[in-house]
């Protein structure tokens, strides 16, 4: 099978899985933006992507793509390490046109995977996984309350910092990965090389900014007042503020939750 046996075949697998993952990120980033405008809308998407068969099937497909991409990455790296020989140069002078990212894709990839594990722990474990094991309040909030989990996660500055590092690694990984994939698939040349690089840089930057916008918005503009009750869900805050009288609490509750708004505050504010 040439996708395993030949160097170009192995690179084709990396390219195709990489492009598929970029498309997934595009979908994910678009979905995230909804959270900036509507908590209810965002939670509707979360409900749609809960433990439904199509969402689970898509998740498995995605996991397979990630697994193949990682396995091939290590496979290629080990082969390349051997091909380099055991002796290393005493003096090296990297040419200016060699991008830093292109020589550090594996390290960047490892940072991306670590960030992904954190992200799955913050969200997927509390949401889809919670529903799958039949414990919808596993993480303290309803499994479909994605908005609440965003507020909860980004109310903690350490998480915000880690997510920013993660997104920066993704940016570097993708700026090289994008044009490199096109080059490997043969869809490049003297003219298209520069075009793909430009398109790749613009696309990646927009993509990362979309993710970054949500992380920063919820870190600095939303959910700040929930800090104290971060570990406890927002309902607690709302209940305290409105003394359980939900009919009168809307304004103060929203203020207390600093933008968590209805969904994050659960039943109390509705």
């Amino acid at each position: 099978m040439w996708l395993c046996d030949s160097s170009i075949g192995r690179k084709v697998v990396m390219s195709v899985t990489g492009i598929a993952l970029i498309l997934f990120l595009t979908f994910h980033a678009s979905m995230n933006l909804v959270a900036l405008f509507s908590a209810e809308g965002y939670n509707m998407i979360c409900e749609f992507l809960g433990a439904n068969w199509y969402a689970v099937a898509a998740t498995l497909g995605l996991a397979a793509l990630v697994a193949i991409h990682i396995i091939y990455a290590f496979w290629l790296t080990i082969q390349n390490y051997r091909a380099r020989g055991k002796d290393r140069y005493d003096v090296t002078d990297k040419p200016a046109k060699v991008e830093w990212a292109s020589q550090n894709m594996l390290v960047l990839g490892i940072i991306v995977v670590l960030g992904m594990i954190l992200h799955l722990w913050n969200f997927w474990y509390n949401m889809m996984f919670a529903e799958l094991i039949g414990d919808p309040t596993l993480g303290g909030l309803e499994a479909t309350n994605g908005y609440g989990y965003i507020v909860k996660t980004f109310s903690c500055p350490i998480y915000t910092g880690l997510y920013i590092i993660w997104l920066a690694a993704i940016w570097f990984h993708l700026t090289h990965g994008f044009w490199s994939a096109m080059q490997t698939l043969g869809w490049s040349g003297k003219v298209w090389f520069e075009r793909w690089r430009c398109i790749g840089n613009a696309y990646t930057t927009i993509l990362v900014l979309m993710f970054m916008a949500v992380a920063l918005y919820f870190s600095f503009c939303g959910g700040r007042l929930c800090d104290a009750a971060c570990d406890a869900p927002c309902e607690t805050v709302c209940n305290t503020v409105c003394n359980g009288d939900c009919s009168t609490c809307d304004a103060s509750c929203n203020a207390a939750c600093g933008g968590c708004e209805v969904s994050a505050c659960g039943a109390c504010c509705q």
Binding site: S7, I8, G85, Y89, D90, L185, G186, K190
Partner: protein
């Protein structure tokens, strides 16, 4: 006339592929700026021989920048910091400063085992060419030059690809020890011309199979090869090779 310079030369000594190897050092005095790098090494060897020591071994042949025999990794760059489009033999000492430390190493790659000192075995490239880097010739009278019309642009590009001298600087610079720039130039020079098309698919498959078999690495598009190529081969050749190869495999 450039002024003379003195510098410290660190050069790699290694007795065969299994030997560990080490650097020898020597203070070179009053070397004229118009001396070529290889002539400077000749001066070094004269001195070594007169002292009854073993000369330093390095590859060289035409000393005109066209044969691709010289292969020295100088101060971290294959062929050293020459003017664009030049090999080690076209590197002149005026490019260095008085008091510099100049480090000379061999091409380091599993595909190019060291024979001795800075001379490496590049037979692997010949084997890749033997696998398919040719057009099966039908002997007989040559045709008229204009019997097969070829657009000027294609002819020029094929000529650019054919200018690869197979020195191996691409492999030496690549962190993956990949020979893709060399193979892609050799595939491209024929793939671009009508005479090369009938065997294009077979050629791409055979040359890649041989390249993989000989233990060269996988290309990760770092562009280090393109940056150091003395003949300015472009990585667009690699894209063309990928295209040829993928097309051939999908057609199988």
């Amino acid at each position: 006339m450039d002024k003379n310079i003195s510098f410290k030369l660190r050069y790699w000594r290694q007795n065969g592929p299994k030997d560990k190897g080490h650097f020898d050092e020597r203070e070179m005095k009053d070397i004229p700026g118009d001396t070529s790098f290889l002539e400077m090494l000749d001066i070094l060897n004269e001195e070594l021989v007169s002292e009854g020591k073993e000369p330093f071994v390095f590859d060289h042949d035409c000393r005109e920048g066209i044969c691709g025999m010289c292969s020295l990794y100088i101060n971290g760059t294959p062929h050293g910091k020459t003017a664009s489009g030049a090999t080690t033999c076209q590197l002149y000492m005026r490019r260095f400063k008085d008091g510099d430390v100049i480090t000379v190493e061999p091409w380091r790659s599993a595909g190019f085992p060291v024979i001795k000192d800075c001379m490496v075995d590049r037979t692997a490239f010949d084997k890749i060419i033997q696998a398919g880097g040719y057009v099966t010739v039908r002997t007989g009278q040559p045709q008229d030059a204009n019997a097969i019309l070829i657009p000027k642009q294609d002819a020029d590009e094929a000529m650019d690809c054919a200018s690869c001298i197979g020195c191996g600087a691409c492999v030496a610079a690549c962190k993956n020890g990949s020979a893709m720039l060399f193979v892609s130039s050799k595939v491209s020079q024929l793939a671009l011309l009508p005479q090369g098309r009938p065997e294009a698919a077979r050629r791409a498959k055979a040359m890649i199979a041989k390249m993989d078999e000989l233990g060269f690495g996988n290309c990760t598009n770092t562009r280090a090869c393109e940056a150091v190529c003395p003949k300015c081969e472009s990585i667009s050749n690699i894209a063309r090779l990928n295209r040829e190869f993928i097309k051939a495999k999908l057609a199988d």
